[in-house]
Amino acid sequence: MPVIESNGGQIWRRRDRTQTLLRWGMWLIGTAVFLYCWKQISDATTWFFVWDAPRIANDIWTRATPPKWEYITQLGRPIWDTLNIATLGTMISLCIAVPVAFLAARNTTPSRFIIRPLALLIIVSTRSINSLIWALLLIAIIGPGVLAGVVAIAIRSIGFCAKLLYEAIEEIDESQVEAVTATGASRWQVMAYGIVPQILPAFAGIAVFRWDINIRESTVLGLVGAGGIGLQLQSSLNVLAWPQVSLILLVILLAVVISEWVSAKVRGAII
């Protein structure tokens, strides 16, 4: 097909005519959609402010520098809370994610048509909703504070961890499981000897990976009142204390960098 006869000669083309037209059409529709979106955004924007943006940015920058270094003495407790939210949240979520993953994996689920879809529903719904939204919800339910943050992080992480874990379970080497089954082991023994050792490295990797992400997320949970360093950020923003804001942002940046370094190290050691 891609070879076209014209003027007695053969011309090679990568695609034939309909394919070419189709591709052009797709690009055209794509561009139109994008332009429409841009138009909508543009309509909803007060362009006067945007043209003024460089001046405002400059203004904020001069106010925010230098950071108010002595404010760091008040950040000890919020940093501790942030760490706890991430760590405890990750631990709780793992406790729930492990059984959910086993129920969701095709090769370990007790029932393909009832329990597996249910487990997948848990995974997709906890995963689709950002931890800040979970935090909002939990604050409405159990009041503001660190506890709401821990629970929000825990719920948000269930779906993430369970998804990666059930994919790891589906990829295990079945012959090892078969061998353990052939010794006359019970269902639980097959689990403990045949499946768990195979997914343990993946599990450790997922746990550390998620902990790293949770450190990031827990630094901003305070913006909606769920404890941690974000609370300080919110109150500083409210009173436009820019030197404090810049210091907090630096601390958050540092925390993110450190947690990423730790997680990379630990994952490197496991694999």
């Binding site: 945007v50 904020i60 706890n84 405890l88 719904s125 909703i129 939204i133 919800l137």
Partner: protein, 276 residues
């Protein structure tokens, strides 16, 4: 058979002795220090979480109401708000994904050590690092302060976040590609652009498409929270619903988000299946 004799002595030593699985951490002091350290940390962490049990107990009732709200979601009462917020979220997602992906391709090429010269590599890696270290919501706060309220700030936020995510993964993919195929194209005397087009692009394209779909999914989820800080989208509506304890409206919004995310995941599964 000469080795048989010492081996049997070894066996005699071992018979009757208890067998324990070797510990994961061989040095006992390190094992105990880590174990006790972990226990102390956990106790300290639990003790420093202030919990108002009375408030929690009262909250359980509200929590249950929220769960019940999922069985009777209210799409109607605030229909106009929900529709407007959702459309704004989707528009921001689409526009930001397109721009973000378009920018991350050159940056991803520049951040791959095997095809970019060192100065370019350093600059691109720097951009990636900054973008990854700053979370969406913080960027959004700053951009709202600079550009004012509205979806433009959200659009910039999501584009910026997309660049960090996609460029890094694209660069890693290019770095781990098959060298031989790329070398073969280079050996044919191709220019740099031709080399990228024929030697690199075919190898990384499927993954780039998969990652782009995944990022679209993430951008949509993130767009749902940008409204909390005034950067447009459904977040503002959701926040209002929570503030007014309108759980049935909140449930409706959450259900819409979940359904759209599921749809996007299904779609990206289809597309990834086709390109691979």
């Amino acid at each position: 058979m000469s080795a048989a004799h010492p081996a049997h002595r070894e066996l005699d030593d071992m018979l009757g002795r208890r067998w324990r699985k070797p510990h994961l951490i061989a040095r006992p002091w390190l094992r105990w220090t880590l174990g006790i350290g972990l226990a102390v940390y956990l106790v300290a962490a639990f003790l420093t979480i202030p919990v108002d049990w009375h408030r929690v107990y009262e909250g359980l009732d509200r929590g249950w109401q929220f769960v019940l709200a999922f069985t009777t979601p209210d799409f109607v009462t605030r229909f106009a708000d929900i529709r407007e917020g959702m459309i704004e979220s989707i528009i921001m997602t689409v526009a930001a994904s397109v721009v973000g992906i378009a920018i991350s391709i050159p940056i991803g090429l520049g951040a791959a050590r095997n095809i970019a010269p060192l100065p370019v590599y350093m600059i691109c890696r720097g951009i990636v690092a900054v973008s990854r270290a700053l979370q969406e919501i913080i960027v959004a706060i700053l951009l709202v302060a600079i550009f004012g309220f509205g979806p433009l700030a959200g659009f910039f936020t999501l584009s910026f976040a997309t660049i960090g995510f996609l460029s890094k993964l694209l660069a890693e993919d290019i770095e781990s590609m098959d060298r031989v195929q790329a070398e073969a194209i280079r050996a044919s005397g191709a220019s740099w652009m031709q080399w990228i087009n024929y030697g690199v692009q075919p190898q990384v394209m499927p993954r780039l498409i998969g990652l782009s779909m995944y990022r679209l999914d993430i951008n949509f989820r993130e767009s749902a929270i940008l409204g909390l800080v005034g950067a447009g989208g459904i977040g503002a509506t959701l926040n209002t619903a929570f503030d007014r304890y309108e759980y049935d409206t909140a449930a409706a919004i959450l259900i819409i988000i979940i359904v759209i995310v599921m749809g996007l995941e299904y779609l990206s599964g289809l597309i990834r299946g086709r390109v691979q």
